[in-house]
């Protein structure tokens, strides 16, 4: 079921991943034995009520956090086997990030922000390549602006240009439209949608409209996988979420 299209290679594979915070009695399990695969060239949305573990799932998948148990493979590499430095290199070369809070470096212009991951990797990207990346997100004329001089939607598009600049095989997006108005949000989702042609996109969101742009939606509840929707539409996603939240609420009421 998870490997429904065996012709496609799996870009990210989580196997029985558990992540616990704290120890002893105060321990909180954010993920409880999650197994999920993300095929190359697909666009997946991860949804769930708050506290369901979706951000933890993203952090573990991206190697930002090490799982308490289970394995994570990115493009076939077991992340547990990598040192901190090798993990940083992997993130730099294979993974792109798009955050809700953009995470642009405020002192750098848009073009320098886009070029930064490459420069951190020791490359000297050409100005033309940087301009092209900005043009691809429709910001060719904003190359010399600092983040503070850009609107939220523009900042997020710079962040997407940055995430794509190193041509990563996986792009993780954490609530990329969370801080944007709906018009800007649509623009950003369109960019992510188009991206799925060349990279695997994993997006955490709580917005059914955003989730509906993806190829499929994974639902999380209480740290476990709670369902899956292929070729989702906004109403179907919303329905599934409502059902999920009712069950979760019912569980809470029962316990």
């Amino acid at each position: 079921m998870l490997d429904a299209s065996p012709r496609l290679a799996t870009a990210v594979q989580l196997s029985d991943v558990t992540r616990t915070y704290g120890r002893g009695q105060g321990a909180v399990a954010a993920l409880r034995g999650v197994t999920a695969g993300f095929a190359a060239g697909t666009f997946t949305a991860v949804m769930g009520p708050s506290g369901s573990g979706k951000s933890t799932l993203l952090s573990c998948a991206a190697g930002l956090e090490r799982p308490t148990a289970g394995t994570v493979r990115v493009t076939g590499q077991d992340l547990a086997a990598l040192s901190e430095a090798a993990l940083t290199r992997l993130r730099r070369d294979q993974i792109g990030f798009v955050f809700q809070s953009f995470n642009l470096i405020p002192s750098l212009t848009a073009e320098l922000n886009v070029a930064l991951p490459a420069r951190l990797a020791g490359q000297r990207p050409s100005r033309r390549a940087v301009r092209e990346a900005l043009a691809a997100v429709g910001l060719a004329d904003r190359a010399r602006h600092r983040p503070a001089e850009l609107s939220g939607g523009q900042q997020q598009r710079v962040a997407i240009a940055r995430a794509l600049f190193t041509r990563p095989s996986v792009v993780f997006a954490d609530e990329p439209t969370g801080a944007l108005d709906s018009a800007s949000g649509r623009q950003v989702l369109g960019l992510l949608r188009g991206l799925a042609d060349r990279a695997t996109v994993v997006m955490v969101t709580h917005d059914p409209v955003a989730a509906a742009t993806a190829d499929r939606v994974l639902f999380l509840a209480d740290g476990r996988l709670a369902g899956e929707l292929h070729e989702p539409t906004a109403p179907s996603v919303a329905e599934a979420m409502t059902a999920l939240e009712l069950t979760a609420g019912g569980q809470e009421a029962a316990s």
Binding site: L58, L64, F99, N103, P106, S107, P117, L120, A121, R146
Partner: protein
Amino acid sequence: MIALAARTARARAGTLAGPFIALALGTALLSAVVLNIIASATYGPGQPHWFTRPAVVVAGADSVRVTTVSDGDRETEAMRTQAARAVPPAAAARLAARMQVLGVPLVTDYASPAHAAGAPGATVHPWAAAGLHRYSFAAGGPPAAAGQVVLTAPTRLRPGQRITVQTAAGPRQLTVSGVIRTSAAPALYTAGPLAAQLASHRIAAIALLPRPGTSPAGLARQAEAATRGLDVRVLTGRDRAAAEPDPDADLAVVAIAVLGTAAGLAAFMALFVVSGTFAQSVTARRRELGLLRAAGATPAQLRRLILGEALLIGTLATLPGGLLGALAAGALSRWIARSGVGPPGLATHQALWPVAAAAGACVLIGLLGALAPARRAGRIGPAEALREAAASRRAMPVTRWIIGLLALGGVPALLAAFAAVHSADGAALLLPMAIVAILALVMLAPLLVRPLAALLAPLAGGGSAAGLLARHSAVAGVRRTAAVIAPVVLTAGFAGALLAGNSTLYRTQQVTAASRVSAPVTVTAGPAGLSGAAVAGIRSAPGVAGAVPVAATTVYVRSSDSPEEWSAQYAGPGIGQVLRLPVVAGRLADLTGTNTVAVPAGTWRLGQVAQLWLADSAPVRLRVVAVYASDVDLGETALLPWGLQAGHAAAPLASSVYVRMRPGARLAGVRAAAAAGGGQVEPTRQYLAALSTQQQRLNDAALATILGLALLYSWIAIGNSAAMGTAARRRELGALRLIGATRRQVLAMLGWETWLGTAIGLLLAAAATAVTLAGVRICLAGISAGPVLVIPWRPIGLAAGGALAIAELAGLAPAIWALRRRPAGLGGLAG
């Protein structure tokens, strides 16, 4: 708003730790300095050591007074002189008569310079004076005959030995009759008549011994009645110590001047540092302050919030600060005593009010320092809460422009002042000059960050990603960079300007002074000075063409409405042949008799009568017979005729003798004559070098005290602002890690950025030093030897290097701490 301030302060402990530390240390520093200023101001000789047994001591006057009358108000400024006048013979006679009637025994004490090789002490007293304090015989007994002497332990000399004693009347052969142990200052004792004769019958003091049934106070009233109308001091109790010579009394005045300067500098720095840290905390909280505005707070309320915080933090900081200051005061006084900047016995007493005063000053400094940041907080709009606002747009607010340009305008004004002073007094302008130059540079620093950062780019990470980030970050966050720069400019600027300025002035003065002495050889005196007989011996030694004695002394001159201390020299006849002075009017050859004087231009004209006081506070009227240019080493320096010394000292003694030799003559004869008089022969160059090293040491110690305290403070300030700068950027550092920067790259960026800020600060400090040195150069222009540029690289390097090391350490440590976790925790991804 104060209540809100208290709440937000608690929640914002992180960003307010900076101002708190700055204010606590400011309080500590100021309290320690104020406690020591009070200790120096109240420094007295303490308990008497010589006059322990007499009930009352009568001594000559020892102060000069200047009284001014303006609009019927009389104001008197008094100054204690180096030495006291003799007790007038009339007073002695009247006291003797009155005390005989009362049956009170009295002792007449004479003191004159004398020294015996191998025994401590440099004065000789009549044997009766030994009874003025407790003593016991270590060996032998009292001097029974005129040719006998009693010495003070510890000495290897034993009763019966014949020794040579250098006295004011020349060398005497005396026989040791005994050695005493006493806690009074060591001295030599001879039979009364000889001691009186050696002192030219100049009475040092008359001691009235206690008599059963008469209280010291009653006896003092009797003594006062007997000496009414005569210029004497009648002393009882602790005051008796005032009749004993106290060589350290001058040092207390030095200590007060040094500590006063240190306190001023410390307060100036504190104001800067506190203001900087408050500004940093406002910047770090822009978002929060914007939220408050959005929630309905008025700009005035935000201003009051920041000022309320300043008041609260200032008050809280005074507690640990005052405590620390009280503890540090002892260490400071020990340093002052050991370094020679203050009297050796200096000790502070714990007192609340000086600490409270320092604390009050610091609370005030806190409020003043928070004024500008509070204004800025008031200008934050509600929209700031929604914006990423790390890159502040307006780097140069109006206040910065105004203060910066005003200070810049002060620079040419002070350069003109340097030109007008044209003497060693220029030293007094060094601190104002440094303050003005540094203030201007610090205030205008945001304008200079971009060009200087571009200039320094090749030295700051070059093309690496870390270097690029560092440069952009430094230029974009101009305010943050300026906050790092300011304490560096203060530290290195003051160190550079004051050290290089003082050293250059001082060295030039020394070199010029040395170039004036044309005599190739100098005979320096032993502890007792060179007597007239010894000088005569040197003058008549084979090969000597001329020998001119000089004796260093002090005169007091009326300067507007207070007495002022000048240095002076009694100069023997023929001084013009051994000193090259730039005489502009009159002739040095006329400096004869007892009523002439040679002075620097500016105070008196040739032929005028100069009214001044001699070192023993005696007023004299002297005719100006020569005027010389008020050169760098000659300002406030008078030359007195040799003959004037008699009557104002026990005997005319030389502190050194300048000797001219006949061509080809050997020094052996002079050496023998000098040795006979207790002196020794030195090449003049070597003698002057030793003299200047000694003075340079005191000069250096004074500067070290002033700068040391300021440096200590500003180093901490540097660490403080670097740490605050890093702490405010944890989010940004986390974002960098998320987009693929390794831990090392993030640290490298911070390191380069700190280095860049520090390097810009050091460049500006160098500029402040250069401007100050330009002032010194103008001040010294046209003097005979020309300015001698001296830059003490070692201490300046220490100040600058210390600043860099501390900034790097303090900037990187919190980053290392923050980065020890994985990037997700920092970037706010996990949520």
